[in-house]
């Protein structure tokens, strides 16, 4: 995955690689590193979820992700921030989203990671479709 060039902001059809994100953050920041991995839930309203599919309005999603990263860098005084999101089919236990941040101190790193995830979930034009036993459904987010 991302063997050749590493992008801090990426939408990827293939498996997200936690170790690559970790290495990048560790090599660009000394101090506190916080990582977040979001993986699909396997139950939805008591039903087993078989698989997930992510679709994006890609050019705008990348712009929004970059904007979120830039804001986080400024507001939380980060040394590095990485946001990778999966597209296409995503099996249970695979990373749907990876965020990695580095800052001189842990408070800013924790806060930034939380803030970045909240922003992704509310603003980035990416949509999730869940396949259950009785069909596939686009997920309606809770307000």
């Amino acid at each position: 995955m991302q063997k050749d060039t590493f992008h801090e902001i990426a939408l990827l059809q293939e498996l997200l690689d936690f170790s690559v994100v970790e290495d990048y953050v560790r090599s660009h920041s000394k101090g506190a590193h916080v990582f977040f991995s979001g993986t699909p839930r396997d139950m939805k309203d008591g039903q087993l979820v078989h698989s997930l599919f992510f679709e994006a309005y890609e050019p705008m999603a990348l712009r929004e992700m970059k904007h979120i990263r830039d804001r986080a860098m400024e507001v939380f005084q980060l040394e590095v921030a990485v946001i990778h999101h999966r597209l296409g089919d995503c099996a249970l236990r695979e990373h749907a989203v990876l965020v990695g941040v580095g800052a001189p101190h842990r408070a800013a790193a924790f806060e930034a990671c939380m803030w970045i995830m909240d922003e992704i979930k509310s603003k980035v034009p990416i949509w999730k479709k869940e396949t259950l036993a009785n069909g596939s459904f686009w997920v309606t987010p809770h307000p």
């Binding site: 979001g38 992510f54 994006a56 309005y57 050019p59 705008m60 999603a61 712009r63 999101h85 749907a96 989203v97 995830m117 992704i120 979930k121 509310s122 603003k123 980035v124 034009p125 990416i126 949509w127 999730k128 686009w138 997920v139 309606t140 987010p141």
Partner: protein
């Protein structure tokens, strides 16, 4: 049909009139940036997108 320039709010109104059963819980993006209701659509080649509630992450 709507005439340019029109505001994003006017566009929403026109869409609601043309597609009365469509849910209105979408955002409008202009050239890949979220637009405000008062923003004006002037360029006929503008890229407009209706963004339903997102569910990434």
């Amino acid at each position: 049909m709507i005439k340019l320039p029109c505001s994003v709010a006017e566009l929403r109104g026109a869409i609601a009139e043309r597609f009365p059963l469509m849910q209105s819980n979408y955002m409008i993006a202009m050239n890949q940036t979220y637009a405000n209701p008062s923003d004006l659509i002037e360029d006929p080649n503008v890229e407009l997108a209706l963004i339903p509630p997102v569910s990434g992450g």
